[in-house]
Symmetry: C2
Subunit: 392 residues, 2 copies
C-alpha cells in the first residue's frame, strides 16, 4: 500500500470530545522532543503537576497525568484502590458508569450497583440506602458529568455520603474538569481521574489523576500488588516525584505533555473562574438558541452538564442525515446518542476552545439550515438572535 | 505558581530513546485535531495499520498501535496471552526482561526464568533445556534488542524453539523495530510489541503491537476475562477493526497518530531495507570512531544491537561528568548504564533520525573534547576520520 502524508479535513468539533485545540497547544506539541530524564523535562513535569493541582483545586502531592487516554486513568483509579474481594458501590447512569463496573469486576472486586435512568443525575438518597445496606463498602464510585448523557451529579453530596459510611469517593471528572467547578479538596474526593480532550482542549491521550490522603492510605495498606504494572500509582508517583530523584518507570509522552503544559498556561492566564463562567454563558446562550429552533434539552436544568448539552431530536427528523450533513456540508462534528438514548438525542459539546460564541452561533445556523431541509419549522435567524440576546 | 510557556532546550538525542524527531513528524502532530470517529480519521487508522504491517513484515490483521507507551503494549501482550496459573518462560538479560517477569507475576502466571549475563544475548541452548524441563509452557517471552544493555538475541531461533515445545513466542521489539530486521511472519513471532520513540523517530506515547493466528487462538480460548479493560486486545481489535463498523473503546490519541502516520510515510519513502542499511552503516562508523578514541563496545559484535551501542567507560574517567558536559555544553544526550552496568558503560543510540552521519560525527567530536578534559589520551580528529573512512 502506498502511503502519503495525511491532511485532516477542516472540522469544528462540537461533539462529546475531542474539542477544538488552540493553535498555541498544537504548536507546543510540535516543538523538538527532549529526553524524558532531561533536567528541563523534569522542570516541565513539576510545572504540569502544579498546574493540575490548581485545576483540581487540591494540594494532593499525588497529582499527575497518566500517559494514556481517560480510560487508562479510570482503570488506574479502580485497580489501585481495589484488591480482589473488596466491595465497591458503583453509580450507573450512563456508559462510563457501566465501564467502571466492568473494570471493577476484572479487578476481582465485589460490585454493587445503584442504577439511575440515563439522562438523570445520580439519586443521592438511593446511594445512601445502598451504603447503609452494604456497611463494608470500600469505595463509592460515580461519574460527575456523564459524557454519554450530559447529566451532572452532586459530587460533593456523594463524597460526603461515602465518607459518612467509611468509604472512599472515586470520581470521574472527564467532562467536568475545567468546565464546571471540581473542588477535590473541599469536597473530599479521594481518587479522581479526568481527560485532556474535553474542557482542557488538548488532544486525547493524557489523563490527569489525583489521589488524596485517604487514597494514599489505601495504597500503603494493600496486601496484594496492583494488578497492572503500567498503572501502578505508587510506581508512577516515584516517576513523577519531587526534585531530581526520579525512578524510571515508562517513557513519558514528551510532546503530548508540551501540549498539556501550554493548555494549563492558557487556563492560568484566563483564570479558572472565568473559564467556568465562559462555559456557563455559552451554554445558556446555546440552549436559548436551541429552544428558538423548537428543541428542548433532554436533561433537566438542575442536573445538566452545561458544556455537554443533550437535546431531543424533533419528530420526523432523520438524526443521522442531519449529523452527516453537519459534518460533510458544514464541517461541524456533533455526537449521537448512546445506549437507551441512541437515535433520540444529539450530544453537543461546548467545551474548551469550542465554548465560544463563534462556534456556538455557527452551529445554530447550520442546524437551522439542516432542520429546515428536513421539514422542521424554523424561523430564519431566530436561534442566533436568541443566543445573542442571552449573551448580551 | 505562575506558569509560562515552555521552550525546550536544544538537544541532539543520542541516548536509548527518544531519538530525534523529524520536522515532518512534528508538523504533522500540530495539524488540527479531528474526531476519533470521523470517517477521515478511520481512513487514517486503516493506513496506520497497513503501514505497521509493512514494518512488522506481517499479514496479521491484528496489528495496531496501543494508545500508550511501550510498557503499556508490553503489558497488553502479557495480560492477553496469559491467564492465572499459566506457565511462562521469560528470558532475562536486562531491565526489560525483569519487567516482563513483574508483569507476568501480577497477571497470576507461573513464571520460570532463564537468566543471562547482562550485555550478552540470550543463550538459546539454555532456553531449550528449560523448555524441555517445562513441557507445559504456554508462552516463551524474550527481548529481541535489550535497551538496557544493547544485546541482540536470536529472535528467529527462540521463536522456533518455542513452537517446537508448543509454546507461543512473545517478543519485545521496542529497540529493534525499524533498526534491524524484525520478520514477524517469517520467524513466527506470535505476540509482539514495540515503541515509537526509538527507530521510528516519533515522540514516545504510542506502541505498535501485532498478534498472529496462534495468539488469536489463545484469545478465543480464554476462560477468564483479560484483567485489563484498557488493554483488552479483543476490544481494541473492534475499535481498530475493518471498515466503518467500529466499536467505541477509548478515544485514540489523534495528533500522536498523525505523527506516527507521517513517520510511516517517511519509512515507506526510504524503504525498509535502506533504513536497516543506514542504521548498520552509521553504527559501524560510530564503532570505528569510538575505537579510535580508545573505547570498546561492551557487547560482542555478533550479539550487538547496531543502533544502540553500549561502550565501556575508560579508566579514570568520571562518567557522570562527561555525560553532564555533553548535555550542558554540547546539547547532546547519551544514556547511562543500568543495573550491573551502571557506572561502567554509556548507552549511545543511533536510532531513526539520529542514525545519520552528522549526529554521529558531532558526538564523536564532543566525546573527544570531553574525554581529553578528563585526561584520557585522544588523538585530535582521529575518531571522526575513522568514522568517515568507515562510511566511505
Amino acid at each position: 500500500m502506498a502511503m502519503t502524508s495525511f491532511t485532516p479535513p477542516e472540522r469544528m468539533l462540537m461533539g462529546p470530545g475531542p474539542s477544538d485545540i488552540h493553535e498555541r497547544v498544537r504548536r507546543a506539541m510540535a516543538k523538538p522532543t527532549i529526553g524524558h530524564l532531561d533536567p528541563e523535562f523534569i522542570r516541565l513535569m513539576d510545572e504540569i503537576k502544579g498546574g493540575l493541582q490548581q485545576l483540581f483545586l487540591t494540594e494532593n502531592e499525588l497529582t499527575m497525568p497518566v500517559s494514556g487516554p481517560g480510560s487508562a486513568a479510570q482503570e488506574a483509579t479502580i485497580v489501585n484502590m481495589l484488591e480482589p474481594g473488596d466491595k465497591i458501590v458503583i453509580c450507573i447512569n450512563g456508559v462510563f458508569g457501566t465501564r467502571l463496573r466492568d473494570m471493577a469486576q476484572r479487578a476481582g472486586a465485589e460490585v454493587v450497583t445503584v442504577e439511575q435512568t440515563w439522562g438523570r443525575a445520580i439519586d443521592v438518597d438511593a446511594v445512601g440506602a445502598t451504603l447503609r445496606q452494604h456497611g463494608d463498602t470500600k469505595v463509592l464510585a460515580f461519574v460527575h458529568a456523564e459524557t454519554s448523557t450530559g447529566a451532572l451529579s452532586d459530587a460533593r453530596a456523594l463524597a460526603a455520603l461515602a465518607h459518612e459510611h467509611g468509604a472512599l469517593a472515586l470520581a470521574d471528572t472527564v467532562t467536568s474538569l475545567g468546565g464546571v467547578p471540581v473542588r477535590v479538596d473541599d469536597w473530599g474526593l479521594d481518587a479522581v481521574y479526568s481527560g485532556t480532550q474535553k474542557c482542557l482542549s488538548c488532544p486525547p491521550g493524557l489523563a490527569p489523576v489525583t489521589f488524596g490522603p485517604r487514597a494514599l492510605g489505601v495504597l500503603e495498606k494493600r496486601k496484594t500488588p496492583v494488578q497492572s504494572w503500567f498503572l501502578d500509582v505508587t510506581a508512577l508517583m516515584s516517576y513523577w516525584g519531587s526534585g531530581n530523584q526520579r525512578a524510571y518507570h515508562h517513557t513519558a509522552p514528551v510532546n503530548a505533555l508540551y501540549g498539556l503544559h501550554e493548555a494549563l498556561v492558557m487556563l492560568h492566564e484566563e483564570g479558572l473562574e472565568n473559564v467556568w463562567q465562559r462555559h456557563a454563558d455559552v451554554s445558556a446562550a446555546f440552549v436559548a438558541g436551541m429552544q428558538a429552533l423548537g428543541m428542548e434539552p433532554a436533561v433537566p436544568e438542575s442536573e445538566r452538564v452545561p458544556e455537554l448539552i443533550t437535546v431531543h431530536i424533533p419528530d420526523n427528523v432523520d438524526e443521522a442525515a442531519v449529523r452527516g450533513a453537519l459534518l460533510d456540508d458544514h464541517g461541524i462534528e456533533i455526537g449521537a446518542g448512546l445506549g437507551p438514548l441512541a437515535g433520540k438525542v444529539w450530544r453537543i459539546g461546548l467545551m474548551g476552545q469550542s465554548a465560544e460564541k463563534g462556534h456556538m452561533t455557527r452551529l445554530l445556523d447550520a442546524l437551522e439550515t439542516e432542520l429546515g431541509k428536513q421539514g422542521h419549522k424554523v424561523e430564519p435567524g431566530a436561534a442566533r438572535a436568541a443566543a445573542e440576546r442571552s449573551l448580551a
